[in-house]
Symmetry: C2
Subunit: 144 residues, 2 copies
Amino acid sequence: MPDTFVSNPSFFKLDATLKKLRNYWQKMFDAHQKDITVDQWLLIENLYKHKKTTHNELARNTSKDITTISRIIELLVKKGLVKREADVYDRRKVYLQLTPEGVEKYKDVKSLVYDMRKIGWKTLTETDYAELTRILDTIYANIP
Amino acid sequence: MPDTFVSNPSFFKLDATLKKLRNYWQKMFDAHQKDITVDQWLLIENLYKHKKTTHNELARNTSKDITTISRIIELLVKKGLVKREADVYDRRKVYLQLTPEGVEKYKDVKSLVYDMRKIGWKTLTETDYAELTRILDTIYANIP
DNA sequence: AAACAATAGTTGCCATAGCAACAGTTGCTA
DNA sequence: TAGCAACTGTTGCTATGGCAACTATTGTTT
């Protein structure tokens, strides 16, 4: 393994890129008065796709800590976008799903997100995308 | 631009990979009783390389918010790893530099970091590294 | 020189991240 | 069936991230 791998700041680059992306998304959300954060959006998107999930599932699906899920869901419930529903058979479980307002929020924000996703890629090719995916997946798999 | 670019979760993948990396680093720091966080390490590394900088410079160099820098530095000062020094000519400025203990900490943690950086790359080539760097730099440059 | 703008850094507030401890529930097992 | 382990989710604590408001200082303008 060449020395570049060790001395060069790939961690730093990942961090800086992600922060700039997150910042841009948040600024666009704010500019269009979407009244949600980027991470709240990620949960809404996930809940839209899975219809009915638990905190645990959501944590796995989003790579978030379960305590973080718990707190973001609390905010979304307060905003009226998500509702909790106790499992009849297992009283430890709580099912989460979007309210009608939550579904509306999803549809409202979706097109903005669709446009924004293209921004980062505007000068890159499909091969670049595949490469990034492959490399990130490999790094992810390499870490114990 | 193909639809994959828009529908696929590159933001999510960046976030997940970075979190797993950060987590692994932190666990290794803890296991070896280094008594610092990953971000504290990033500042120490930067201060070692630049010897004497200001909060502002450090923020630019690390892609961190200046308020975050202010707070991390406060923690490092409390740990005795960094010392503040007022500028004689501009009393708004505060220069930051590692204490002898800070330099020692840098040298102590450096070899561990060196080993860890290789972990993520163990099944990847130098070309992969160059590709990742190029793609991340491009995304970064694309974002307004 | 007085007023104002720009700069450096801090503090308050809220959101996300992760660990530990906890409560309640369920399932297993002696 | 009593006891314990495993599981689900919440709460407390500390750290990082970002915005706004603030203090103190310096530079500029009139």
